[in-house]
């Protein structure tokens, strides 16, 4: 009996250990192939060259254009998602009738559940043509349209995490504010948002991290042309889109082009890891401020 209990506990712990192996596996794979990559490409070139053309005859391995593409689309996404998502959170938390809350929340859940390839289709076939009627010079592939659509995708993430943060602010603060005669607007922006700021910051950092890693929307609608620019109207490529591009082609395994996706993946991993660590720190440090 005791023996059986021990064996079961061991098996359960083993299942947990698989998650650790996953992390070790990711680190090992990225490090190993990236080191091989830097055996052939100079690390200085990687961080300073302004062109990324591994698939052309004249090969350049400068990661900057992919980083600029990733940052640009993510920035546009946050620019769309933050004001809208935060407004929704404030509205649901402070203004909305409980009935409204119960209707809006499932809709947000649906928005979050839609596969990203579907968002990509939407960006390419609906948003881009529409934007072209407003912005005459807009290329068929650009950073603006996938950025906006990515923003729509991220709204539920920001609104639900921010709402949780606002909800966690002690009732006494809210009541004190109303007691002094403040409006809902004043209470929300002068009391609740400052009090919940760490939670809101966490939601924004997680949203940026999510946008950095988003793949299909940009692979479909941004154009797969690495370009060092912050102009949202021209075709660009992101780190993720480049990895997709190489995976779709017939690049031989083990070649330099093949290894380049690991170096690019390493950059993406480092960026998202830093963002996730910061958000975890902020959360740990400030979340239980009022408990």
């Amino acid at each position: 009996m005791r023996r059986k209990e021990k064996i079961i506990e061991f098996l359960l712990a083993l299942a947990g250990a698989i998650t650790v192996l996953t992390t070790i596996g990711i680190l090992w794979v990225l490090l190993y192939e990236t080191v091989l990559f830097f055996g052939e490409v100079s690390i200085v070139e990687f961080f300073t060259d302004t062109q990324w053309t591994p698939l052309f005859a004249d090969k350049h391995f400068g990661i900057l254009p992919l980083i600029s593409g990733t940052v640009l689309t993510s920035f546009i996404a946050i620019f769309v998602a933050l004001p809208i998502g935060l407004s929704i959170a404030v509205y649901l938390n402070e203004y909305a009738h409980p009935k409204m809350r119960r209707t809006v929340k499932p809709v947000m859940e649906i928005l979050a559940a839609i596969p990203t390839v579907v968002y990509g289709f939407f960006a390419l076939t609906v948003v881009t043509p529409y934007l072209q009627t407003i912005i005459p010079g807009l290329a068929g592939f650009n950073a603006l349209s996938p950025g906006i659509v990515m923003g729509i995708m991220i709204i539920p993430l920001i609104s639900s995490l921010s709402e949780d943060a606002l909800y966690a602010v002690p009732k006494s603060l809210r009541e004190a504010s109303y007691g002094l005669g403040a409006t809902q607007f004043q209470t929300s922006f002068k009391v609740l948002i400052p009090a919940a700021s760490s939670g809101i910051i966490v939601s924004v950092i997680l949203a940026i991290s999510r946008a950095f890693g988003e793949t299909m929307i940009v692979a479909i609608a941004a154009g797969l042309e690495p370009r060092l620019t912050l102009d949202p109207t021209v075709p660009i490529a992101t780190i993720t889109a480049y990895i997709v591009q190489v995976s779709m082609g017939d690049v031989p395994q083990g070649s330099l082009e093949f290894k380049s996706i690991f170096a690019a993946g390493m950059m993406l991993f480092v960026f998202t890891f830093i963002l996730n660590t910061i958000s975890a720190r902020v959360k740990k440090k400030f979340y239980h401020k009022y408990e």
Binding site: V29, S87, T183, L206
Partner: protein, 281 residues
């Protein structure tokens, strides 16, 4: 007065923001229905792929998606639920459990395409499984494992302590308590989490592209070692083509994919609500 005006202005802006999400979802779905509904018929689902848009069907892609979902479920559910039980019931204060917890939080934040890179190196190349269904399913299993673990823990946490204490008082062992009392009580929550995780796996494209899912397979896969395509891959391929007819095909295939996603989410939400109502301690 000025303050009330501001208050009202913000209220209307916030309502507009809230409606924006709902309207976008509406525009989205209506647009896809207009594009794709005319193309969607039984033949579209049962036909093999073709170079001609009007003959092409999604049969092989749907079969690939079903295979991937089945295999991913078989691999990820036992591992994820077991790990969740361990963290919640056994390793509460141990160092190992603490490390696992931090690790799982980190894993949940890693972009899905990185999992693809892991799968490519470990399953496709090192383990020699090639671009097979099993490579894809293993990759997706690792991807959704954190979701299943977190859901399992939440569900177990919701079971009142009195239940397990009563069980221990009657002389039941730890595992007897878990398997006979806690798991049945937490079952609804776990199933809900698992379905949501699998619905995410059904829509994933990026990691499967990296581990070599194909955009064109002439026949439906027969064994886990076969090459395959999945619905999102087929959609991606059709979107990438310049001809308008393929865009129509993509929209029709998206309707099928959204139906699968919504049905899975619907079942999960239904189970969650039912369970919440039924179980009153």
């Amino acid at each position: 007065m000025n303050n009330r005006l501001k208050n009202n202005l913000f209220k209307y802006w916030a309502i507009a923001c809230t409606l924006f999400g709902i309207i976008m979802l509406g525009v989205f779905i209506i647009n896809i229905l207009i594009d794709g509904l005319g193309r969607l018929d039984w033949n579209f689902i049962t036909d093999l792929p073709s170079r001609k848009a009007e003959n092409a069907g999604i049969f092989t892609a749907v079969m690939g998606t079903l295979w991937i979902l089945g295999l991913t479920a078989i691999i990820s559910i036992p591992v994820g639920v077991a790990a969740g039980i361990y963290l919640e019931e056994y390793g509460k204060k141990s160092r190992f459990a603490n490390m696992l917890e931090i690790n799982i939080t980190n894993l949940a934040g890693i972009p899905s395409i990185i999992y693809g890179i892991l799968g490519l190196e470990v399953f496709v190349r090192t383990a020699g499984l090639g671009s097979s269904l099993i490579s894809g399913a293993l990759t997706l299993s690792l991807l959704i494992l954190p979701v299943i673990i977190v859901a399992t823990r939440e569900a177990i946490k919701a079971v009142p302590k009195t239940i397990s204490e009563a069980s221990y008082a009657l002389g039941a062992s730890k595992w007897q308590t878990i398997s006979e009392q806690i798991l049945p009580a937490a079952g609804g929550g776990i199933v809900t989490g698992v379905i949501l995780a699998l619905s995410r796996a059904a829509g994933e494209t990026a990691p499967l592209i990296v581990v070599g899912a194909l955009t064109y397979v002439p026949f439906a896969p027969q064994t886990p070692m076969d090459q395959y395509s999945v619905l999102p891959m087929q959609i991606f391929n059709w979107i990438s083509r310049p001809e308008k007819e393929f865009g129509v095909n993509a929209a029709a295939a998206i309707i099928v994919l959204l139906l699968i996603t919504f049905i899975m989410n619907g079942i999960a939400i239904y189970l969650r609500n039912r369970w919440q109502k039924k179980v009153k301690w």
